[in-house]
Amino acid sequence: MNQPSLQTRLAARGLDGTTLLLLPGLIFMIALFVYPFLYGLADSLVPKEGAWYANYAKFFSDPFQYQTIAATMWLALPVTIINLAFAVPVALRVRLMRRQRLLTTILVLPITLGTVFVADGLLTFLGPRGWFNHTLLLLGILDSPVKLTNNYWGVFASLLITGFPFAFLLTLSYVTGIDPAIEQAAATLGAGPRQRFFRVFLPLLVPGLAVTFCLAFVQAFAVFPSAVLLGAPAGPTRVISIAAYQAAFEQYDHSLGSAIALIMGAVELAVVLTVLAIRSLFYRGPAGGTKG
């Protein structure tokens, strides 16, 4: 009656030499992600002065600070909803296109170029003498140039330019995962375009759309460079990331900076978890037609 060796017993539970390959990456993440996170949490509870919760009390009692949450939401939520609302019909159309590659390549440009470049471009494009105002004046839509930079709408436009392609490409990857035979079956049974969308596509898309919403929202919520460059960073587009950055690197109060950064993460996770919780109420299952 020999007991199997420790090595054999561990291997039976999936722990052997191959599993150890995990360690370098894991140690790195613990050292540079988990540890700083806990450090930040502890740091935020040791304020420069006052009780342990002083940083949080300071943030939530100063309207200049706590209003940044509303300012960020007021930018991120509408933009994300608009991006998603446009992404779905466009993706359903583009799905039928045979040569999507050119379009998807163009749309991936703003994502890869990043918000700083887009902000720089929009400053010229949307400026009082830029092409945008020029075109609208020429078409007679406007009588005088409309101010679109250094305010809310500049940041809104930048989130639209980088966010729509992101939402669209994600939605497209979900839409193409739905078997066309399902739509054909619905059409054969007499469903019109509206019925096919609301009763066939939409229910199948809801899980994917929830994930798309979350990822798009994360990006919009974290808006930072364009809110400074294109917005009014002291006024309506003083978003929470600006507040966190200023506390940590302009007032050199890393304790307060960490506290605001954690509040930012908590607010964002609350929205994401709410959306994911709503998603779990809907249908989740195969979107393929043939093999269940």
Partner: protein, 280 residues
Amino acid sequence: MIRDQGLTSKIWRFAIWALAILFVLNLLAVIAAVIVNSFATRWLGTWLPAGWTTRWYFSAWKEFQLSSVVLVTFEIVFTVVIISGILGVTTAYALARRNFPGKGLVVLLFLLPLLIPPLTYGIPLATVLYRLGLGGTFWGVVLINIVPSLPFVVLVMIPFIEQIDPRIEAAARVFGAGTTSLFLRILLPLLLPGMLAALLLVLVRTIAMFELTFLIAGPTTQTLVVSLYYAVFASGVRAGQSIDAMAVVYMVTTLFWLVLALQFVNPTQIVARAKQQSAH
């Protein structure tokens, strides 16, 4: 494919195409505005500038010390790519091949940095790095950039490794291959296309990664995108054309690698993380 012929369907179809085309036009115009302005002698309130010149590129190259900035950018980006590639592929291999207690937790740990705003973990991490004396240094910038890149490599590589049949490795073992030759002669050739795609995507993302680099970069360790931010932030100090010339340099640097990456991956994969490979 179903074609609806009703009038409302046609109007709807037209509206959607019009919307998509309008968006693409605006997007291209934003990029074109930067390029046109960088070649302009003077551009005030007209459709096109008064004249064309290339001198802004020379002045931008000197003013912003672009030769050293570009060099630093590439040093940082390639170091990030190599380190996150090595760590990421080994981690992804273990995660794809083994099931062990606590695996869900480990996967969650690699998902979180992609779900949390960069500034949320960036500010505490930057504080720690400054405390260690790494603020403003080359390795500080590299370390902070690996935090989002490593999970990205892992998540791209896991489905890719899963589709390689483990029996191939077993067969190589049967024929007497040691671990080294198994890795070099069996796994590496099979993994190379996936690795290339993942690493090129990390490369493009790291060049454009602003928030994290911005927190830690010092005067000698600014990457292109951070220098661009400072230039736009202090616009008015320098000619707008000069800033836009720098933006074009940044754009060309990014697009070169993007075009290369698109030889190996579908544009959708840049956001959707190799979903389509597993959809087969």
